[in-house]
């Protein structure tokens, strides 16, 4: 281990944040770029399943809430891309990778949103699962990422409560049809939400180094268990069920037991074979491709303005 490397690891061990100007191992930088860009892409792609219902929100109040949430997500995307850029990465290049299918984003957004209750379930389960990940990441070793997480977590928690409230209102005051929407939504999104924590620990090769660098701070399976333990009581409070016959409290472990995830589906979706992988990427690619002339114009205009100012 070189002195720089030792110094770096000592900082990490002492919970001192690594800042953009500090020395860092190339693998640390790369891992972070990959992780933060994935996270940023997820925020942006994550707007699509919600955008699918924002034109059809059933009341002014719900419409405004959903619009505010989508706006926040665009903001999170920007914030995360900035954090990523502090590591010397290029936003355009990383987005390019996304459009070529080389970069990942949260697989959950490859599932369609098929009824209005999904706008509640996405908030409750999907943002809920994201928060479980992100709460831990607030203490991640890279300063700008950690600070982004602190800010994002706050807003995500708000979204999560709002999502849960949608479901609660539908279950408490809704018609029979509306209650069925909720249960149908949970049936479709339950397992994909559990998959958000990634493969089980024995299948997760990169995790150990990330743990040592404190980029990651808990294992996939630990996080998944945390999520389930906090979510099941909320599920019961709703008066809904999970599509998992094996889900039950284990007194001995002090945790909920749950059934085996369909890993075939998990890896299918990861490989691009999810219900909406194709549409999501195409939508994003089209937006950026068709926006090329707009961005070029903005650049050309800015340059002209600068020249004028210099001339004046």
């Amino acid at each position: 281990m070189s002195p720089e490397e030792r110094n770096f690891q000592e900082k990490i061990d002492a919970e001192v944040k690594i800042e953009p100007k500090n020395w860092m191992p190339e693998a640390y930088r790369k891992t972070l770029i990959r992780q933060i860009s994935q996270h940023a892409h997820s925020e942006v792609v994550g707007m699509l399943p919600e955008g699918n219902w924002v034109t059809r929100a059933p009341t002014l109040k719900r419409k405004l809430q959903l619009m505010a949430k989508i706006q926040d997500e665009a903001g999170h995307g920007l914030y995360l891309y900035s954090a990523m850029e502090t590591l010397g990465a290029s936003r355009d290049e990383e987005i390019q990778k996304l459009h070529e299918g080389k970069a990942k984003y949260s697989s959950i957004f490859n599932y369609p949103t098929l009824n209005w209750a999904d706008m509640g379930t996405v908030g409750w389960l999907v943002d809920g699962a994201a928060i479980v990940n992100q709460v831990v990441l607030q203490r991640t070793s890279y300063g700008p990422y950690s600070r982004a997480m602190i800010r994002i977590c706050k807003e995500e928690s708000f979204h999560q409560r709002q999502g849960y409230q949608i479901l609660l209102d539908l279950m408490r005051e809704g018609t029979e049809e509306q209650k069925q929407m909720v249960q149908d939504s949970i049936n479709r999104l339950w397992w994909p939400s559990l998959m958000m924590f990634g493969p089980s620990d024995d299948q997760s090769p990169n995790s150990q180094q990330s743990m040592a660098w404190k980029i990651k701070r808990k294992s996939n399976d630990e996080l998944r268990q945390m999520f389930i333990d906090q979510t099941v009581p909320q599920l019961e409070f709703l008066g809904c069920t999970a599509p998992d016959p094996d889900l039950k409290w284990n007194e001995e472990r002090g945790h909920y037991d749950f059934g085996e995830i369909d890993w075939q589906e998990f890896y299918d979706v990861l490989k691009g074979n999810g219900p909406c992988n194709r549409e999501r990427i195409e939508t994003r690619k089209k937006a950026i491709d068709e926006g090329t002339w707009v961005r070029q114009a903005a650049k050309a205009y800015a340059e002209k303005q600068q020249q004028k100012q210099q001339a004046a």
Binding site: V44, M47, L48, E50, G51, V54, T55, R56, A57, P58, T59, L60, R62, K63, L64, M67, A68, I70, Q71, A74, G75, G77, L78, Y81, W116, I166, D169, L170, E173, G174, T175, E177, Q178, T283, R284, K286, A287, I288, E290, G291, T292, W293, V294, R295, Q296, A297, A298, K299, A300, Y301, A302, K304
Partner: protein
Amino acid sequence: MDQQHALQEYLLRLGDSSMILGQRLCELCGKAPAVEEEMALMNVALDLVGQARNWYEYAAELEGKGRSADDLAFRRDAHEYRNLLMVEQPNGDYAVTMARQFFYDTWHYFTLQGLANSADERIAGIASKALKEVTYHLRRSAEWIKRLGDGTEESHQRMQDAVELLWRFTGELTTADEVDTSLEAAGIAPNQQQLASDWQGMVKEVLTEATLELQPEDAWMYMGGKQGTHTEHLGFILAEMQFLPRAYPDATTW
């Protein structure tokens, strides 16, 4: 025309125009040319739908028939809508989106500026709050007119085409009818002549700075939205926007 009726119509024009433009911007979610624009478009849309809610709430109260703001938004068919034709036009390319926004923002800004001094206090209150938001909308869309108009050759041509495409819907922004003038007389709505000349002045200034050709002043104008006769687009917008409340009429909460 009795003032109550005129006021009712006028509030719907304000509410519906904001609502429909907000809806059009919602359609762009995930499709904007940059993430910054995603955020900005949704932000503008959010302001507009929020303002629509305020106008609808007042209109519903005034009407006094037990209809709610949601009823006004989600339970009226196209012929009952009173929005300007401009805002129901399709998003087109970003030049069209921004030209539409700019023409409307200019009208919106000067209208709200007038309404902030309305003899009707409720209107003055809503307008004052909205004016802050719309000041930003106008600054932003005017900036885009200039960027695209005076950007690249391609963007200039696209923006020029957009201005030409949408020009026929601008007449409605500057043409007062009986509703407008009777409320102006009552000190509720702004001076309509002033509004028209302010609109023309601002549009001329920004288009000129953007190196865009002005359109003929005597151009043929397509009007009718304020009176409830729309283009073919509105029906499709409403079919989508109103689907849930209409498909689940027994639902009292969402």
